[in-house]
Symmetry: C2
Subunit: 516 residues, 2 copies
């Protein structure tokens, strides 16, 4: 348990204790290596989207995303480092896991989590380096001083559904942003689709699939042509129970996906019409897994795996190709900094992610023994369930720190038809038609190891099997190394206490509690 | 489990959703009922102090506090609502439990908890009503917009030891504040003694008992005459093991107490010299229990019971008398508002505390069936252990929401000689000489009920005893009513999910998880 951690003090002091205004020191306006004049970037983040897209072999109709994929590198192994809205967005916008930037949970209401005030964010760094920044739609991170955008139309000054789901309004806001021709720029668009909305505004349907569909009381989104799905015909993924209630829920989610897709089509058209299609990098992804069992808030693959497209107008050789490189939303900030030729103010070692731009040229050969890391803390403030994970191509190791307590369920998912169906069937002892039951969903081992080649659905925890002990040992060491490098306050939990000041300043240590 | 909570929506919207700038509407400068001209207030908060004072029958020498008690009402049943620094101070300064003002844990470093930006605090309300406000010493709450002070010398702009333990500096700051004669005023002084400091600055001793004692390297506090104690002669309270290590720790704490006491003497002298002794209400208390086992961070009495003195220059009839009224630090804000004749901007029902001023006149006769309530959330961000409690004169009921996990230990206490002694003795199987052992200290039942008349040391949990079921039922109902009135986000934890929007807007409900 006693673990000298001498390398730890250094990054901690380097990243957290320096002030954000140091950002520009030694950098100023960076010389941007240009291809054909100015280079811009468009980041599109969907809300709780999974793989319900034609390009990922779903029957959900997403012609615009499919078309974008034709001129993109398509990611088959992209993962969020945290399956929770605000924390995930904070990692996208800083390159730092939530435990390193302070955004341990949701940013709204009684949760009011925020990033440390001295965190260096992508938009702040770029602005310091002469890049114009804009955000449209869902922001959901704070405080504002950490996440400044020069053009900002978000839930902070708009109705979230209007600015996040009304694709006509989004189109016009994009047009407004692009009208100011100043380059280079970063535009970040946070669609609110296909996030659930049945809890707060049930009149629009579970996924707001009726919002703006021109029916009475639903409003009108002129640019949207709704598409609805027959619950009998949707694909039920392995982690959702195959029941009428769940099928109907999925069908509603698919309808919401079509609005996202059409919105993306409108945004891309604005870029073409304004003449920016030829010099703008486009990155599309989602913040976290879909809001279904084992999805959002989980670090199982349905919560952690993300769709991702990266489209460069310059590097076209791998358009419509698939990359199997292990990639993380923690790579977004390094990728954008690379694109703009801007160094991170705290140096190349400040972030644990990597630029994805080299993948646009060629696939690594051979693959490095690469891995992605994950760190979940709270989501809602009442939902303390810190998890740390490492996922390689072959294995996933999850450390559940609050493992003796039942896994918590968020207010939004709890009230969903799918989860209510599980509750109802459990209490009335009906068949669940599900790959788990509530008891084993709630109660998890402290450590979970999955052999993803043998068991891609993560059904069999092999952590205790003797044949896996070499894997366990190796993955634990790598996970601990990452927690150490990213200054994880939970690094000693739940069995120890981190001491890192006073006589432990030069050798931070996990000291034992003898409590487990 | 299904619980209609129709009264809940109302206070939630009234307190949290209104903006702080509404504070002054309908009030402006309140007419202050005067006795002899202007009335001022001095609030003195010690840091982790317990009952180590002559006036509470301790042999620790505190002549200044003892003298103050001679002209004060002495509280025998005062309690904090949360045994954690920042949360407790937030409750003192708002009258709202931490779960209602958002300060769920510590305000510093990686914890960075803050109150909701729309919380109405005492200093903001008083300033809106023409009362000049000042703070000297430990503030440890945020954000600044919620806790504004016109005169502010705290850890935010000073070294905390200088402004919190250097009693000469504190004296001079008080003098500076008083030199501006504008009345009425509120001065809040947060002494840092007798907080431990062995973790960060071990050179000053475990309780900074050597800081400023004129020895080499210790600095000089001219006004301080150190008093040291023989470990053999200190009183070891029932909740601390009687061992040489713990005795030495207690002796150091007592030395730190003498600096606090002498500092209070200096402050009161400044008030006399400036002519404010005759029109200033003085309230002395501590933020939470002492940093020893079952103390700080616990809701057992060693963590929850506080010393309290209330001294009015006008109501002198109960000077040097004891009140047995159940009183809470949640009563401080109502008491001060009452003193200044200022109404809370959200009305008399906004706070669950009460003014203590009537006690200055006479003891209630007969005693009402009064109770104090407590709510602990996190302390350090890694220390999730929400507890809710009600304490009457006869019983205490504690609800441990994260009860399956071991009770967490904070970094500061962990490294203390007393806890290290327990760790060492446990691991080497030496006798503990303690009323508990680590295992039963870590692992607590979900519900604990203590019969305080029979068992004032809270050793025997009688929650499951059939003869106590009527008490359990009654206390649970009162606790739930308080959680409801104070809009506790954890009100449904750990067995349910709170739903309070959409179709539950008019009847917020705890819906069952079937998870325990």
């Amino acid at each position: 348990m006693l673990m000298p951690r001498s390398i730890r003090a250094k990054p901690w002091s380097r990243i957290l204790l320096l002030h954000v205004f140091l950002i520009s020191i030694g950098h100023g306006f960076t010389e941007i290596p240009v291809h054909n004049g100015m280079k811009n970037a468009l980041v599109i983040v969907a809300d709780d989207a999974g793989f319900e897209m034609g390009l990922y072999n779903s029957k959900c109709l997403t012609p615009n995303l499919d078309a974008l994929s034709k001129r993109s590198l398509i990611f088959n192994n992209a993962y969020t480092s945290v399956s929770s809205c605000s924390p995930s967005r904070s990692t996208i916008l800083t390159g730092l896991p939530n435990h390193q930037n302070g955004m341990y949970g949701l940013n709204n209401g009684v949760h009011h989590f925020t990033s440390f005030r001295k965190t260096a964010s992508l938009s702040a760094i770029l602005a310091q380096n002469g890049v114009r920044t804009g955000i449209i739609g869902k922001k959901h991170v704070g405080p504002n001083e950490v996440y400044p955008f020069q053009f900002s139309e978000t839930e902070e000054n708009n109705d979230i559904d209007q600015v996040g789901r009304n694709i006509t309004k989004i189109k016009l806001l994009v047009r407004e942003f692009l009208m100011q021709k100043t380059e280079p720029f970063l535009l970040y668009i946070g669609f609110h689709d296909p996030h659930r909305c049945g809890r707060r505004t049930p009149q629009y349907g579970e996924f707001c699939e009726l919002f703006g569909n021109k029916q009475e009381g639903m409003g009108n989104i002129p640019d949207w042509t709704p598409i609805y799905y027959d619950p009998e015909e949707v694909h039920v993924p392995y982690f959702v129970q195959d029941t009428p209630a769940a099928r109907q829920d999925i069908a509603a989610q698919w309808a919401s996906m079509t609005r996202l897709d059409q919105g993306i089509g409108l945004v891309l058209k604005e870029f073409e019409d304004a003449g920016f299609a030829s010099n703008t990098l486009i990155l599309f992804t989602s913040d976290n897994g879909i809001s279904f069992p084992s999805g959002r808030t989980n670090l199982y693959d349905p919560g952690m795996a993300e769709p991702m497209l990266l489209s460069s107008p310059f590097e076209t050789q791998r358009h419509n190709q698939i990359t199997y490189s292990m990639s993380s939303l923690l790579d977004v900030t390094p990728t954008l900094l690379d694109w703009f030729g801007v160094e991170h103010p705290y140096g190349n070692d400040a972030l644990t992610g990597k630029s994805l731009l080299p993948l646009l040229i060629k696939e690594p050969d051979p693959f490095p023994d690469d891995a992605v890391f994950a760190s979940h803390s709270l989501h809602e403030v009442t939902m303390y369930y810190p998890m740390r994970a490492i996922r390689t191509r072959k294995h996933k190791l999850i450390h559940n720190l609050n493992f003796k307590m039942p896994y918590p369920i968020d207010q939004d998912f709890y009230i969903s038809p799918t989860f209510q169906d599980l509750i109802k069937r459990t209490s009335s002892k009906e068949p669940l038609n599900w790959y788990k039951n509530l008891k084993n969903y709630y109660y998890r081992e402290e450590w979970e190891l999955y052999d993803l080649k043998e068991d891609p659905e993560e059904r069999w925890n092999v952590y205790f099997k003797s044949s896996y002990q070499p894997v366990v040992k190796k993955l634990k060491a790598r996970l601990m190394e990452w927690q150490n490098k990213t200054m994880d306050p939970w690094i000693c939990s739940p069995g120890g206490v981190l001491e890192d000041v006073g006589k432990y300043l030069d050798h931070p240590s996990c000291l034992p509690l003898f409590n487990l």
